[in-house]
């Protein structure tokens, strides 16, 4: 069974204080690892897809990296508007259904 574990559950940062969120996963074969951002009362918003170990993607203050066992979402010099819950999900190439297995998320709060 696919498993996704995110840590920490909650993270409180001062504005400008860089940090990283962790997503560790167990799948029979990784088809893709996805990062989403979710604001309160809204649906998950797509950020990145990573397909193979060593891959990195960047968008503004966010950078996602992938190894064979985990992914990191690095946040550089965060701003209050980066406050949200960040969700990690995996798609198992062996599942054949294109369904995502999500972690429980990391709730990020950036304090001005």
């Amino acid at each position: 069974e696919d498993q996704v574990t995110q840590s920490p559950e909650a993270l409180r940062l001062q504005e400008g204080e860089s940090s990283s969120l962790n997503c560790s996963y167990t799948v029979s074969g990784l088809r893709g690892l996805f990062w989403y951002r979710q604001d309160p009362g809204k649906g998950p918003e797509f950020l990145f897809t990573l397909y193979s170990a060593g891959e990195e993607k960047e968008k503004e203050r966010l950078k996602a990296t992938l190894t064979k066992k985990e992914s990191f979402l690095h946040i550089t010099a965060p701003k209050p508007e980066d406050s949200a819950t960040y969700l990690c999900a995996v798609e198992d190439s062996g599942a054949g259904s294109y369904q995502l297995t999500f972690g429980k998320g990391t709730k990020l709060s950036v304090i001005p």
């Binding site: 009362g41 649906g43 998950p44 918003e45 819950t85 969700l87 294109y98 369904q99 297995t101």
Partner: protein, 113 residues
């Protein structure tokens, strides 16, 4: 222009009732999904569907049934609602062409009294 839309946004109903949630996507995707997000914010797949097959998560009660009138719509019907069905339900869609990125709707908050 909304990519994935759901109606209604909020749904409050009594136990035992039957209700439906509608989902539409204008992205031209070939696969649609329903997810349930519980009170602890854990997002879990319920169904995935394209024009070839319906895949049901084994933990989903058979009171829940997806119905797709066409490629752009996947509605969720729920019979005999129970208190434990209270949650936020999200529709998503993707084009299964190697990228598989799923785009989510805004969610429907279902409250069963």
């Amino acid at each position: 222009d909304t990519a994935v839309s759901q109606t209604p946004k909020y749904l409050v109903t009594q136990m035992g009732n039957d209700k439906s949630i509608k989902c539409e996507q204008n992205l031209g995707h070939d696969t649609m999904y329903w997810y349930k997000q519980d009170s602890k914010k854990f997002l879990k797949i319920m169904f995935s569907y394209n024009n070839k097959e319906l895949i049901i998560n084994e933990t989903v009660p058979n009171r829940f049934s997806p119905k797709s009138p066409d490629k752009a719509h996947l509605n969720l019907h729920i019979n005999s609602l129970e208190l434990g069905d209270s949650a936020v339900y999200f529709c998503a869609s993707s084009q299964v062409d190697g990228t598989d990125t799923q785009y989510f709707g805004p969610g429907t908050r279902l409250t069963v009294l």
